[in-house]
Symmetry: D2
Subunit: 499 residues, 4 copies
C-alpha cells in the first residue's frame, strides 16, 4: 500500500499475467512528474509492446518492469503533462484519460491517485474487468468513497452502497469537494464482462455488474443437471440410475455441485476433504516427494466412493492435471464409475485479459474432442456446460436483479437513506446480455489478437525457461499447479481532506 | 522444532490451556540432565500445582513456565535420574514412565526424545487425548516411524500404516535398532477418548482410536434429524412444513448439517459464505469497527434466507455469542423463522483436558434451560443432540470399522504388505463404548476435580486481568472469539541412525 | 545503493542538513521521466525554496521530500525533458547541466546515472564541496571509473589514479565508450573549497583539491604552537614553563596536537582514552543516567593530569558543551591549570553548505569574546588559530604538492603508466589560495545569504520541536551530541557495458 | 543476556578459544536442575576432555556444545545436586564450588546466577583471568553489585568502587540480603595474572589486579627504548642517528610507542592512519581482491616515511603476517630503513588460557632466532622486549599503586565515603610479582600441559578443515587475520530484591 498522502490510500494485489511473471513489480506504480501520480490496474493489455515503444521513443519515459500498470501510469502521465498546466481540474483529467483510452487495447480496470488532488477510477470500453465504487456514511455525517474490483472488498470496509463503473466510464473524487464526478469518457463499445469471473475467479459473495456470483453459480448447477440428464437420456439411460452420488471438487464448485445434485435428485456428498495440516514436513532427503500437490491438498473419504458411481463437479477443466489426479483418487477409494462435469464449456483458447490460465497448447481441451479429453483425464465420461447455457445462467440473475438486488446487498442503511446517494445514478444501466467468452470460442471482444497471442507465446517461453532454471537450482522436481485465484484485488479510497 | 539430533525430530504446536495462556512457552521443552531429553505433550494435567511443589521441594528442579509439558519433562527426567545409570535401556525408560504415571493426573499424550537414544510416546491411562504411531517404508527397504496426535499428520508425511497408542501404553523406538517396543506400562483404567475430538476438535479426515471423525459427524447429522423430527412431532408438527432449508455454520458442521438435511428430506443450502477477503482495512480512526468478528468472517446470501424458515446447524454452542450473531444475520437477511441445532448436547461444564472452551460461567448453557438458551441467543428454538445419541454416533462407526477401516485409510501399501508390520499388533484392541463427556455432565473420568476447577478459576481470573490490561493498552475494544481449533499438533519421528 | 543497471552503480550516505532532518529520504533519488535518472548529491542549496516553487508551478514535478537532491534531480530531469529527444548525447547532457547551474545556488557535488547511458558528475561553480574521479585498470586491460567525494573512497576500491572535478566542471562516462568527457559547463566563479573539510570533516588520509588533509593538519599544529608561544610571550611568560603537557581530544585533533607539542618542545600525552566498552547497560530504572555522553566516550588517565598544567587541543569548538565537559574531567583528574586550543578560529556563524554544526545562537562563539568563551567553558584560557594562519596551513600543502603528491597517493601503478591516463588533464589546475570560510567571517562565497539564513532558522525551529516531542515521547532526557562527521559519502562508478 | 530474573542480570561476550570455534554456543548457559543456574566464564580449561567424560559417565549430564562454560555449569550443578537440599545457603554454594575447583584445571573467571537466590563469582586458584566486583550507591541509599572481567565495564555502569576477586576466592551476593560474602574457597596457588592482558588484551583504561594497563604500557615503552638504545650501542651506534622517527602500529601500541620515542628523544609520528571508510565495495567479479586486510585497514602517510629510517612499534608479533605487510607498506612509502620493535618478548608457544593467538607452528617466533624472524618479516632489524623487563613494567605500576590508585580510579565517591564499603577488604592483598608467561617460555602456571597441547592441536586441525571448507564454499580466498581482542566481557550484577 502506498504511504497515505493526505486522507487517500491505494492498495493492490495482482497476479502476474502472461509475459510478466519473471520480474513484475509490486503495485502500485508511482511517477512524480507531472504532479505525482500512483496507479494500480487489474487486467491485461494486448498492445503493450507498441505502448512500450511509444513511451520510450516518443515521450522518453523509462519503463523498469514488464507490468502493464507501469505502462498505463506513464501513458496517463504523459497525456496529462502535455497540457503543461500548473493545476489541473476534473476536465483535464478526463481529457487525459480519453488520450489513454485511444492508445490502449485490452482489459483494464484502473485506480489512480493524483497527489494533493484526489482519486480516479476508469474501466476499459468493453467492461471486461470489474470495477466498482462504494459509498460510506461516516459518523460525522460526511461521506467517503472507495474504488475496488469486487463488491465484497467494499462491504468489508463498510461501503454498503455501491455501483459498477461502466465500460468506458471514469470517475474522479477530488479530496476537496468529496463529490464524485462520473463521465462517459469514450463510448461504451460493448458491455461484456469476462464470464470467467462468474465461473471461477470472483468470490461467491460478490455482485459484479449487477450479477450475483453466488446465484449465477447455482444456475450453473441447474443447467448442468439438465444437460447431464439429457445426455444420458439420449443414450436411453436414467441419470438417477447411472449416478449414485454428486461430489464437488472443493471449494469453488461447491454451490454449483449442490444445486446440480438437487436438480437431479441425487445425493450430494462432500467426499473430498481439504487437508488442513500445514506443518513443516520432516521428510528425509532420500525420500522423494511422490505425492502430487492435489493429493497433499485433498483427502478422499473412502466411504463416499466405495462401490459407487460418482459424478465429480468442478468449476472448469484447464490443464486436466488436477482432474486426472482427482479421478484417480476416486478410483483408489473404490469408485465403480467416475464421471466429471465442468460448470463451463471446454477451455480451448488462451485467456488474454488478465487471468493467466495456461498456454493454449497446455490446455487439455486444446484440439481434443470431449471423448479424447475424457480419456486423457481417465474419466468414464466428461460433461461440459453449453456456452449458451452458461451465458443464460449469468443473464438470468441479471434480469431479476431489480427485485433481489437489495437482498444481495443486505444494506445496513435503509433504502430511503440511500436514495439520494450521489453514486446510485446508473440504475438504468443497460442489462447485460453478452460476455467476453474468448477462452471458449477463440473470438475476443477486442478483436483480432493474433499478434498478441504470438508475442505472449514467446514471452511465456522465456519465462518458462527462467522458471525451469530456478527449479533446477532449487532442486524442485515439479512446481505445484498454482491457484491463479490467489489474491487479485485493487482498491483505492478517499475520505476527503478535513485537515 | 528442535534442532535435529541424529535422524530424529520433534515438533509441537499446542494451544494454551486454562491457567497458562499468559506466559506459556514454545514447545518442546528440553533438559540436559540426565542424558538430554526433549518432550512435547498434548492435554492438561489436573494436579499440576502438586507436581510443581514436588519438583521444587523434592527434586529441586526449577520450572520456568506454566506449561504442563515442562512438568511432565522434569518428572520424567527426575525419575530417570534416580537410577543413576550411565547408559539406559528400554526397561529403564519404561520404569521411569511408570513413575510418571503414578504421579500425574489428567489427560496427556506425550512424545519425547532421548539424545542419542531414540523417541518415546506415551498416553494417559484413560486415553483422553489421542496419540498414534505411524510406519513408513523407505526407498532403501528400511522402516521409519512417527508419533503424532492425528492420523492426517502421519498420512501427510507418508506414514500410511498406523495404530493408536492405548491408554497407559508406551512405545520406544531406539535409533539403533529402529524396532519399536510397546509396553502397557500401567493398566488401562478406561478407554474413554474425549468425545469433543469427534464433535469439533479433530480434522474431519482423521481416524482416532479406530473411529472416523468424518463418519461420526455424518451420524451426528442423522441422529440430530431424528431428534428434531421427533420434537416437532411431539408438538403435532411436521418438520418438513416447519423448516424450509437447512444451513450449516461453516466449516466444522458442514458434514453433519448436510446429513441432517438429507435425513429430514429438507433442502440443504450453503447460505453463509466465508469472507475470503483478507486485505488490510483502511478504516479511518474516527470510524469505529462496529462489525463483530463473526460478521467479518461470514456473509449471508440473502436469497437463501429471505422469507424462509431456516434451521442453522452448528457443531456446538459454547458462549453463545457466535450463535447470537449468526441468528441475527439470518433475520436481517429476511428469514421468517430461525431454528438452531447443535451436534452435541448443551455444554454446561468446564473442559479440563486441554481444550480451553471457556469458564463454565461464561457458557450460555450454564444454569440455563434450553428455552432460556434459545432466548439468550435470539433463536426461535434451539435443538441439542442427546448425549446418548452422540455416544452412539461414535460407537457406531467403531463397530463397523473392521470392514471399512482400510478404505478410510486408503493405504498405498496393500493389505498383504502391511500384515507383518511391527506395529499392527493391537487389532484386537477393545471396542470403545464410552467416552470422556465431562463438559456435558460435569462428571470427569479422572474423578473428582473440584480442587482443580477452583484452581483453574483463580488462574483464569488472573490471566483475564492480564489480557484486559493488554487490551486496554492496545485500545482493543473486544477480543475476537478465538478459534481454539487453531493449531494443536504434536509429532515426533525417528528414521534411525544410519550415519 | 540503487539496484545495478548494467554495469553501473551509485551509492550515497549523507547527513541531513539544516531544515531537512525531520523527514529526509534515503538517497539516491530516481525519476523515470525522462529516460530514467538517479542522482545523489553532497552539499546544501541556498535557494531551495525558490526551486521548489519553480518545480511545482512551472514544470509540475511533485517533490516528496525535503531533500535538495530531489530538487537537483528534478531540475536536471526537467532541463533534459525540454529537448524532447528520443536519445540524448553528451552535448545534450552538458546543456541540461548548464540549465541546472543557472538555476541553483549553493554548494553541490553531484553524481548521477542515466539509465542505459552512463554516469555523470558535476560540481558547483565555487567548488565548495569536493568531488573526484578515479581510474582503475582492470585485469582485462580496460579501464573503469568511479566518482566519489573523498580520495580514500576511490583508493579503497582500487582507483589509484584520480583527479578533482573543477568548480563548474562536469564529466560524463558513457557506458558504451567508457571514455570520460570533461567540460567546463559554466565558468569557474572561484576555487574556494570549504576549509572545514581540512579542519574537521574529511578523513585524514584524504587528498582534496590537491591538498593533503593530514599535512594541512600538521601545519595547523605548527601555526597553533607559534600563536600560543607568542601570546604567552606578550604577557612576558615562557610557554614551556606554563604548560607541562599537551593532550589531544581524540580523534580528529591528534595529528595537530602532536605537531603543536613538538613545535613547542613540550611533552605530548594521550591523556584521554576512548571508552571501547559498548555493552548494553543494565542500569536500573531508578538510577538516572547522570553521565554525559562525553564522559561515557572518554576516560581521563589521572596520572597524566595530576598536578599538571595541561593544554588540550581540539579541532574546533562549536557549542562548547564538549569542551566544557572535557575541561571539567581534566580538573577532576587533578590538573592544576587547563588551557584549550582550537585548530581553527572561533566559529561565530552558521555553516550553510552541508555541514550542519548548529544554529549560530547555539555556538559558544556567538557574540562572545575569547575571554567570555574561556569563562563559558571553564578553561583557564582559550587559544584560537588565526584565520590567515589556517588558510596558510592549507595553501602551504598545496604549493608543495608537485613533488610530494605521488607519495601521498602511493600509487601502485608507476608514474609512467599513468602519464597517458585520460583523466590526468588538469595538472595545470590553478593553485588554490582562498577558501570558503563563512563560519568564521559570516561572509559566504555565494554572496548574501540573509534570506536563506532566516529560512533555515525557521525550519530548524520546526525540526527542533519535532525532535523534542520525540524525545519527550521516548522519555529521553538529553540527546547526545551527535558527531556530524558520521557518514557522508557519495560515489558512483562505471565499469562499462561488456555484455 | 539472560532474561532478567528478579533484579539480576548476566551478560557475556566471549571469543571462542582453541578447539571450540566451530560450534561454540552463545553464553550464558543454563540448567534448570537443580534450582535453575546460569553461568558464563572467561578463560580456558585444560582438562576439558576429562570433565566431559566425567559428566557423561558419572553424573549423566548431556553436553550440547564444545564450550567450557557448559562444562563448568554442569559441574557446579552436579556438585550442588549432590546435597539434595530443598533450599541452599551460602555455605552449600561455597562447598559446591570447592568441588568444582578440585575437578577443574586451567584458567577461569566465572559469573553465575542461581534463580531466586543471587549471583556468584569465582576465579581460578592462579588468578590467570581477571574478575572484579564493583559497588554502586543507588539513589535510595542502597547498594548494588556487579561482577565483571574489566574495571572499565564496572565504571561504565557507574560502579566506581571495586576490587579484584583473588585467586581461589569466591563471592556470593544473595538478592535478599544484598550483602556480599567473600570466601577463600581453596588456597591461592599463585597470584599470576596472564601478562598478555597488559601487553595487548585489556582495554588501556582498565586497572586489573591493581595494575593500570595504561601505565604498564608506558613502562613498556621506556624499557623498550633502553633496550634498543643499548643494542645499537653494542654495535657502536647511536640510536638517535640510526632512527629518524618512531611510528606506532595503531591502536594498541600507541602509548608504548610514544613513550619509547620520548625516552630516546626521537620524533614520534602517527604515520599510519586507520582507514575509516567502511562502505560496501563495488568490486566487480573479475577484479580479485588483491589487497590484504592490513592494507585495507591502514593507510601510510608517505611524507612520514619518505627517505627516513623508521622504527615501527607494535604490541606483539604473532604470526608475522601483519608485521610483514606493514613493513612492506613502509618501504613502498619511501622508508630508507625499517626497524620493528615488539613491546613483549618473542611469542614461541601456544596461549592456552583463553586467548587463541595461533597454533605454535604458525607463530613466526616458533623455532626462529631474532635474525630469522627479522628476515621472515622483511625488517632491517627486529627488537624484542626482555621478559624480565616486561614483568618489571607491570610490577612497577603495582608498587606505586597505594598513592596513585585513587587517581586511576577517579572515584566520584570520596575516600571517606568508601572506607566502610563491604568490598574494600583486600587492601592488604599480596603485591603481585610474577605472572603467567607461558607464551614466551613454554612453562605454564598450571603445570605440564603436554596432553592438552596435543589435544588442542588435533581439535584445531578439525576446525581448520571445517573453516576451509566453509571458505571454499563461500569463495573466500584468504580469511582476514581476526582481531582476537574483539569482544571478551563477562559481567553480572545484582541490585537486590525490593519487590
Amino acid at each position: 500500500m502506498l504511504g497515505l498522502v493526505g486522507n487517500m490510500g491505494l492498495a493492490h494485489l495482482r497476479y502476474p499475467t502472461a509475459g510478466s511473471s519473471a520480474n513484475s513489480e509490486a503495485q502500485p506504480f508511482y511517477v512524480n512528474s507531472p504532479y505525482g501520480i500512483a496507479l494500480s490496474h487489474n487486467g491485461n493489455l494486448t498492445n503493450g509492446e507498441e505502448l512500450r515503444t511509444y513511451l520510450d521513443e516518443v515521450v522518453h519515459r523509462h519503463i523498469n518492469t514488464d507490468s502493464d500498470s507501469e505502462l498505463l501510469l506513464n501513458l496517463f502521465a504523459s497525456e496529462l503533462a502535455a497540457y503543461g498546466k500548473s493545476r489541473v481540474n476534473n476536465n483535464d483529467l478526463f481529457k487525459a484519460l480519453k488520450g489513454v483510452y485511444e492508445k490502449v487495447r485490452g482489459a483494464y480496470a484502473c485506480v489512480a491517485m493524483l497527489a494533493g488532488y484526489g482519486i480516479i477510477g476508469f474501466r476499459d470500453p468493453h467492461g471486461i474487468r470489474p470495477l466498482l465504487i462504494g459509498e460510506r456514511l461516516k459518523d460525522d455525517g460526511l461521506k467517503d468513497y472507495m474504488l475496488a474490483s469486487e463488491s465484497v472488498v467494499l462491504k468489508a470496509h463498510g461501503f454498503q452502497v455501491y455501483r459498477d463503473i461502466l465500460p468506458g466510464e471514469a470517475v474522479i473524487i477530488p479530496k476537496n469537494s468529496m463529490v464524485p464526478e462520473f463521465k462517459q469518457v469514450v463510448p461504451m463499445q460493448s458491455y461484456t464482462p469476462d464470464i470467467f469471473e462468474y465461473v471461477y475467479f470472483a468470490r461467491p459473495d460478490s455482485v459484479l455488474d449487477g450479477i450475483s456470483v453466488y446465484r449465477s453459480r447455482l444456475e450453473m448447477g441447474t443447467k448442468l443437471a439438465e444437460n447431464i440428464t439429457h445426455q444420458f437420456k439420449k443414450d436411453g439411460l436414467d441419470v438417477r440410475k447411472e449416478i449414485d452420488v454428486v461430489i464437488p471438487v472443493p471449494d469453488t464448485s461447491r454451490h454449483s455441485a449442490l444445486q446440480c445434485a438437487n436438480s437431479m435428485n441425487i445425493p450430494y456428498r462432500e467426499g473430498f476433504i481439504k487437508n488442513r495440516y500445514v506443518g513443516r514436513t520432516f521428510i528425509m532427503p532420500d525420500q522423494k516427494q511422490r505425492q502430487s500437490s492435489v493429493r497433499r491438498k485433498l483427502n478422499a473419504m473412502a466411504s463416499e466412493f466405495y462401490g459407487k458411481s460418482v459424478l465429480l463437479v468442478d468449476d472448469s477443466i484447464v490443464r486436466g492435471t488436477t482432474s486426472k489426479e482427482i479421478i484417480s483418487m476416486a478410483r483408489e477409494a473404490g469408485a465403480k464409475k467416475v464421471y466429471i462435469a465442468s460448470c463451463c464449456p471446454a477451455i480451448r483458447h488462451n485467456h488474454i485479459y488478465g487471468i493467466d490460465l495456461a498456454d493454449n497448447r497446455a490446455l487439455v481441451g486444446y484440439n481434443r474432442t470431449d471423448e479424447q479429453i475424457s480419456e486423457a483425464i481417465g474419466a468414464d465420461r466428461v460433461f461440459y456446460q453449453n456456452l449458451q447455457d452458461l451465458i443464460e445462467c449469468c443473464v438470468k440473475d441479471n434480469r431479476i436483479k431489480d427485485h433481489e438486488m437489495e437482498l444481495a446487498l443486505t444494506p445496513v442503511v435503509s433504502r430511503d437513506d440511500t436514495i439520494d446517494s450521489q453514486i446510485l445514478t446508473n440504475k438504468t444501466s443497460p442489462p447485460i446480455d453478452s460476455f467476453e467468452v474468448g477462452v471458449f470460442t477463440g473470438s475476443y471482444v477486442t478483436g483480432d489478437e493474433t499478434e498478441y497471442l504470438s508475442f505472449a507465446e514467446r514471452a511465456r517461453a522465456v519465462n518458462e525457461k527462467i522458471k525451469n532454471t530456478a527449479k533446477v537450482n532449487r532442486g524442485i522436481e515439479s512446481l505445484d499447479i498454482e491457484d491463479v485465484k490467489a489474491s487479485v484485488d485493487i482498491s483505492i479510497f478517499n475520505s476527503g481532506d478535513y485537515s
